[in-house]
């Protein structure tokens, strides 16, 4: 892993966008991102990210296609860690990653701590029968650890049979996930 110090907020934002671009290319060679200033931002370095198309189509071998949607908020902050003085980093503020089939949402990973005092932890929604859970399953907040976009991409390719967008997807994701785990400030 080659360290890429970000000496300015702009460097940090572009590095983060490039890493997410690498990860997205593992699913599709044509998908792309939109990034813009968050609408209710508290600072100039608060950004929102979503796919350029509303969703991306995930083709599978001998199985119906799926759709993935993504919304993420991040900010650029001075790197608080010892040894990184004078550097900047991206700091995820919230995310929603949703996998849908023709019947609607299948899985949706949520983390939106600033907008939900009742449910600040990362959690997962899964569509299913209400009978066994005593509640509509998509209303149940299944606890999870922090989930990276790359975790979702790997799950789609490795577990749901989604066709990859590039042959080196495994190593590209491995590097992105390694960076995420190494440089994140909380788990």
């Amino acid at each position: 892993l080659v360290r890429e110090p970000a000496r300015t907020p702009d460097d940090a934002r572009k590095r983060y966008q490039r890493i997410l671009g690498d990860s997205l290319s593992c699913l599709s060679p044509t998908a792309s991102w939109y990034v813009g200033p968050s609408l209710d931002r508290a600072s100039d370095d608060d950004y929102s990210l979503l796919f350029r198309n509303r969703s991306i189509v995930l083709k599978r071998q001998n199985l119906p296609s799926l759709n993935l949607t993504c919304a993420q908020r991040f900010s650029i902050i001075p790197d608080p860690r010892e040894g990184f003085e004078g550097e900047w980093k991206a700091n995820t503020l919230a995310y929603i990653y949703t996998v849908e089939n023709s019947d609607g949402e299948m899985f949706s990973w949520h983390w939106h701590p600033f907008s939900s005092s009742a449910r600040p932890e990362p959690h997962l929604h899964v569509r299913g029968s209400a009978a066994e859970f005593g509640n509509s399953l998509h209303k149940v907040h299944i606890p999870t650890g922090r989930v990276a976009f790359e975790d979702v991409v790997r799950f789609l390719i490795a577990d749901l049979g989604v066709k990859h967008g590039r042959r080196d997807w495994d190593s590209v994701l491995a590097e992105s996930i390694f960076r995420f785990r190494k440089y994140r400030t909380w788990a």
């Binding site: 671009g21 690498d22 939109y34 209710d40 929102s48 979503l50 907040h141 967008g165 042959r167």
Partner: protein, 75 residues
């Protein structure tokens, strides 16, 4: 064209990172307004108001992503 398709099929084309298009504040607001109109059929300001007073469920599958992008309270 045929050669290009063969290159793509066998994965020998150079893989490249997905593009990120950077939008201004006005462009981003217009994009979110467009997505809200597509999903819910109402303008962004009305969407915010309906989320704020509970008429819309911010946890609804098609709304949750838009809700965090505008800072709405979600479940």
């Amino acid at each position: 064209v045929i050669f290009g398709k063969l290159v793509h099929r066998f994965g020998t084309a150079e893989p490249k990172s997905a593009e990120t298009v950077e939008l201004s504040e006005a462009e981003f607001r217009a994009l979110i307004d467009e997505r809200v109109r597509e999903s819910v059929g109402i303008p962004l300001d009305e969407f915010k108001a309906q989320l704020a007073d509970g008429r819309l469920d911010a946890e609804a599958p098609s709304l949750a992503g838009l809700a965090i992008l505008i800072g709405a309270r979600t479940g």
